[in-house]
Subunit: 341 residues, 2 copies
Amino acid sequence: MVMEEEVMVNRKVVLKHHLPPDRMPKESDMELVATDTVRLRVPSGSMAVLVKNLYLSCDPYMRSRMTKHDEPSYVPDFVPGTPISSHGVGKVLDSGHPDFKVGDYVWGMTGWEEYSLITSTEHLIKINHTDVPLSYYIGILGFYEICSPKKGEHVFISAASGAVGQLVGQFAKLMGCYVVGSAGSDEKVNLLKNKLGFHEAFNYKKEPDLNKALKRCFPEGIDIYFENVGGAMLDAVLANMRLNGRIAVCGMISQYNLGKHDGVHNLLALIAKCIRMQGFLVSNYYKCYREFEEKVVQYMKEGKIVYIEDIAEGLENAPSALTGLFAGRNVGKQLIVVARE
Amino acid sequence: MVMEEEVMVNRKVVLKHHLPPDRMPKESDMELVATDTVRLRVPSGSMAVLVKNLYLSCDPYMRSRMTKHDEPSYVPDFVPGTPISSHGVGKVLDSGHPDFKVGDYVWGMTGWEEYSLITSTEHLIKINHTDVPLSYYIGILGFYEICSPKKGEHVFISAASGAVGQLVGQFAKLMGCYVVGSAGSDEKVNLLKNKLGFHEAFNYKKEPDLNKALKRCFPEGIDIYFENVGGAMLDAVLANMRLNGRIAVCGMISQYNLGKHDGVHNLLALIAKCIRMQGFLVSNYYKCYREFEEKVVQYMKEGKIVYIEDIAEGLENAPSALTGLFAGRNVGKQLIVVARE
């Protein structure tokens, strides 16, 4: 049977040029291109999957990909003239891969465009539960593995209303920890205290002295720090850690637009307080995804966990959503809706 | 039976005053006092141990104790007018403690004086093997626990000819690792390569670019860093670490005489390379001492491990031995002989 070939216009957001490392990304560094077309079929005999993109994720680590690196990083640099890529949710329109069928919803690395042909399917995940906010939950596994939280421990989370921070805080609280978060606006602090159930929260922009803010919230010190921001906050935290403290380094958003990163001065605390500090990537935990998903779905259904998303409508608003991350404009996890279905 | 009371002159090295945090210690910050006397008996009914001090240890961490801290550190500040204290070896002259008998050799925290009454005996250890260099070996346990070295891994050690570095290097080599050390003189580099069996070594004072020196020695990157110096070396190492690298933070001697510690700029590498960085204190491992001692004694007897000591003769030379640590004058572990027996 010969099928009619369906060719569609495929709008996409491309990177216009590599950015220098020392400035914020601007919307004008990206461009919406509406002239390309796409054939809505996978090449004959290939194992690829063709998806219609529904939701795209905006994450701070993407900033690094906008700059050209001399040495390869853990994620490849974006290529000017081609679409930005990020994690996203898509609906399968055609598939040469036995694990993915037409009509499936999938989550994985995709393009900032209406339709993407995904050829690297190793990390593509079929979504079993469309009612939970995808695999941001697996960032939590870094928290568990690196921090080994115990009931009664004192946990501090920076960028606490963000994509990962809000979840870490809620999980830590479910474990019986005392949980404090920092964020960059009173609105976010209010969410932390009144919607996400943090015991305490502060607006770091209104604190003239981060060290004092932490001493106020943690008179007995911090056992666990979930690090999302770096720089001066990390220094203040190091000065307030307790013996045998643990620091999970998930991100350092304050540093992503600096040519030379801020110096961190208090690392001697690592010795005196026997602190463990460990970086991680979400990809470390893909193997645990399915197991963990069930636990999270249960929590969601029981109403023990909520998730705050900030949804930008339309591919044309994607550049502004991405640049907004670094100005702290997003409240909760930043997503872009390309299509509802 | 009434025993005759033996009272002896007890020469001691006292700290004259607290030091500001931002300068090197000088010999004139300490003073030899030769006018005090001591009764060579423990007080009746006490659990104390009276020792004749034989060897005293000089260690970089002692610098911190010479400065007054507002908040208590993991070791108490020295008290001006009283003897410096450090680990040392003594011979028991009298004991109210059932675990220690007259004539025993013991290792533990003692005073920089000829005779010390040790009242805190929790960490005092009876020496079973007088032919091995005491418990510096247990610093190695931090290396094993934090770094989990595996055959074939690439190990870098700074201050590599020092008290702990020389041992870590030899143990790493016995495990089948590729081992490189840095030190501050050609003499030390020569020892590392020709006496301690390091695969490679360099004099950091002769390297205009530490990053390049590390790239030359580790073209494929570093799996394990045993950190003794901090500052610029740590930054260069972070830039040369491999995925899943481990950093055991034992010391940061380059920072001990600075009012404000150098900023470390490359901590983002912790995330991209999933690096674990952990500080530790030797006291974490006291519980494992006996078990480990046997292993080390065996290695020593088989000639698999050598140990280089730099021995200053006489209590009067103790201040110069201590200040020499920070100028890198010592070659190997710095000790002071107070008495041979």
